[in-house]
Amino acid sequence: MTAHAADGSGGPRSVTVDSRSIWSDAATSFTAWRDDDDAAALERLVRRLTPCLWHIVRAYGLSRPQAEDVVQTTWLALMHKAATINDPQAVGKWISTVARREAWRVSSDARRETELEPATAEAHTGAVPDTAAQVVLQDAERRLWEHVGELPERCRRLLRVIAFDDRPDYASLSTQLGLPVGAIGPTRGRCLAKLRHRLDADPRWSDR
């Protein structure tokens, strides 16, 4: 299975986003900050979730400065509306929903402005590695990047949100991706299948 190849090779890079415990830790930190005035807990929350929010927001095709603004706006919204969050266990979902809504708003505005300049829009979709970030991709990462780049934009966006978000609610994704709610699950499956198909057909990938 392709996924095993993806898992093992190239040596594990230190990943800033650990998706497994991140959202349950978020609930603990949020409660400690809001209800017990633990300032260090807010810092833990922001440091832990910011890389995740970055990826979710960048899925919407924002430029890096736009994405930074959206992440900051999201944290300000949390600070101002903390008292209104009834279910601290769902705070991760609350935060990521605010981030996606704001990212969607900014990307819609930006699209209207750049409609006549498709080249600009393409530059913002993350279709090429960001040279400004001076990244060095390992072989496996570069191949995976190339294959993901060949997927339809809707797939790239959906997969990036799904990879980093905590069970995003399908209702808002539906509006943002222009898909019926019932089509999100199947589309997710089809996008992953398309990616697997490409990886399986790539001898450089399978050989490893």
Binding site: T2, P51, W54
Partner: protein, 153 residues
Amino acid sequence: MMSHDEPLLDALRSMWDAADPSPPDLATRALFRLALEDLDVEVMALQAELSGAGARGPELASTIIFESQSLALTIMISAAGRSRRRLDGWITPSAALVVRLHAAGGILEETADDDGRFAFADVAEGVVHLTVEPTGGAALHLARQVATPPITI
């Protein structure tokens, strides 16, 4: 989420994390910004950011202009040795106001001259923000502290 997909999603996470990483100082800057929310301060807006050849050496210097209702603040950042920065700034309208530079290592304070000019000659690189303080006797009366958003110097 089907566990069957997890290894591939893990690979995707690593890939995006490597190819398009979150700026390393983004969380720090967000925390600075949140800390300002608690205080009675007027937060300035970034008005312009210009880069050009520095007058003090081969390294690039950059100029950042912030604006608020009460004043504008222009800051020129240049290199001052290894991992050190020099900040030259001026306040418009010109007034001899107290300016503080808040950095991870502590707070530095300077007072602008009557033309509104001030300088922090030797500052460690990193995330900082500046505040302009209400100052008795200055030509400009501030009702409250005015702060820049955090910047990386």
